[in-house]
């Protein structure tokens, strides 16, 4: 009877210690993941910001006015007066 009780207490002790260790491990992991999340969020933020800037730059470069001006002045292209059709 006495022996069984002390075994039980010993088992409980082991479980308590194990769960304590787990708590420490998990809280460490939470902190690590939290830092990872923050870093990921910062990266997302930076990438989105860069994307929006690139989008704006592309639309400025590829603006209709700009394309037309370059075609006409730098490449000396011109708009055809009438429709020219080449049949194969």
């Amino acid at each position: 009877m006495k022996g069984a009780q002390s075994w039980f207490i010993l088992a409980l002790l082991v479980v308590v210690v194990a769960s304590g260790v787990q708590v420490a491990l998990k809280s460490h992991e939470v902190r690590r993941l939290h830092a990872e999340l923050q870093a990921a969020q910062r990266t997302q933020d930076e990438l989105l910001a860069e994307y929006s800037r690139l989008l704006l730059e592309r639309s400025t470069q590829a603006a209709f006015h700009n394309v037309e001006r370059i075609a006409e002045t730098e490449l000396s292209m011109q708009f055809p007066d009438a429709v020219e059709r080449l049949e194969p």
């Binding site: 910001a49 929006s52 704006l56 603006a63 209709f64 009438a82 059709r85």
Partner: protein, 551 residues
Amino acid sequence: MKAWRHYLLVVVFFGACAGMAVRVVYLNVRDSDFLQGQGNARSIRTEPMPAFRGVIYDRHGEPLAVSTPVMSIWTDPSFVTLDVSAVEQLATILKLDPITLQMELRSDARREFYYLKRRATWQEYEDVRALGLDGVYFQREYRRYYPAGDTTAHVVGLTGVDDQGLEGVELTFNDQLRGQYGRKVVLKDRRGQIIKDLEYLEAPRFGKDLELSIDLRLQFIAHRELQAAIAARQASSGSIVMADARTGEILAMVNEPSYNPNDFSRSLGHGVRNQAITDTYEPGSTIKPFTVLAALASGRWEAGSMIPTAPGYYRVGSLLVQDPLNRGTISLNTALQKSSQVAIAKVALDLDPRAVYDVLTRIGIGEYMGVGLPGEAAGTLNDRGLNNPVVRTTLAYGYGLAISPLHLTQGYLAFASGGLRMPLTILKQPGPPRAERVIEESLAREVVEMMESVTAREGTAPGARVPGYRVSGKTGTSRKVGAQGYDETRHVALFAGLAPASDPRFVMVVVINEPKGEEVGGGAVSGPVFGQVAGRALRLLGVRPDAERAI
């Protein structure tokens, strides 16, 4: 002996310990909530987590409105004193006057917050950061850019400082575009710097992107031609609306005057109204094709039916209907081509009293359309007085009703689509539209064919022609209503049409308000604008020429 001293010391010591223990329990148990609250109030803050507003794209993915982070740069003069060379460097980068800046910073050194520059560009931010100055801080803000500026201003609209839509689709689709800021709990030190994130209450929700039906290239062309025409005619304002004949998607919608949505400093008010949908006009002769349609549908008239118009005027009750000259006896087709008031009046009086009105309402003219832009005018078209021949006559040639350019687009869309009514929309549609047949297909095609003669050399708008393509349309010139009834000096020049006539791809309405000079008619003023824009549009859309080339 001296034992009492020993005991006294013990008693005092344990007494103090007990006292402290009681105090600890007291603080921990009774005052714990209060103290915890006070502590947190000094260090724990809920901070917003920014979320981007959605991007607005045109139908081909060109951005029309983009939010991008900008940095506001500030310093704390009470904490650091920037030396002269640092101030000079800052002033060069931020394009400020170094002496003024120096004075500002010195004049009130107890200030804790001084904006060096609000909403600095990214380049400025990076240059300032590269200086590595102590006591210069950055604060992130968002700014919305509109790459196409005044060309798309009326459709896209703009947002206010708090990122709320104020005009255009920014307003109507604000809920979808708006990002939902997230919230997080953070721990801050005494200086207000975040030490640690404690808890995320709500993740930020990014705004959804929006795809408009607008084609930016067509928008550019339409805007440029409209600007040129308004400048050349010294007109007060004008609008162009262009819609896809197969889907009812609005491809272009421009107005002059316009405004630049990127320029915060300019006070708004001038040119903000989207006249293409908010302003109503008497459409004049552009309504005649609908009268012709009603005539053909009655079965009593054909394109070749002859109508005597001599002597060039015709009296209906108190109304004198006049043509500019005596055209003699002309066919219905010629009546449309030459825009004869007398012939159209005679046709209208021959028809059932409700015939023209019914055609117009079936097509959707004079109704609220809900294209997705704020401020849409419903227009006025009602069936009061249709028993009066004068009312019927004026309606047949486009007076006594007031409609917006958008309504006229809807009306001509019915011709272009072969007799279908479909909702006009500003959003790109994923599938085919909900179309409803309102006109018999053969009749719609016949009127389109008749309208082609309008752009012939003998028609009222040869300027609307596009070489290589067949173009149908109708001119309209109406007088504006002034203080004393119709004003003979202020006109509205209209042209509504579609191209190519054999298989229409788009409808377009051109309205120019109060042109000055010799010519004020729709054919001379608005027709050529239609021709210019349609010519470029047909080629951009890759439409095969449907006219025989005259060599």
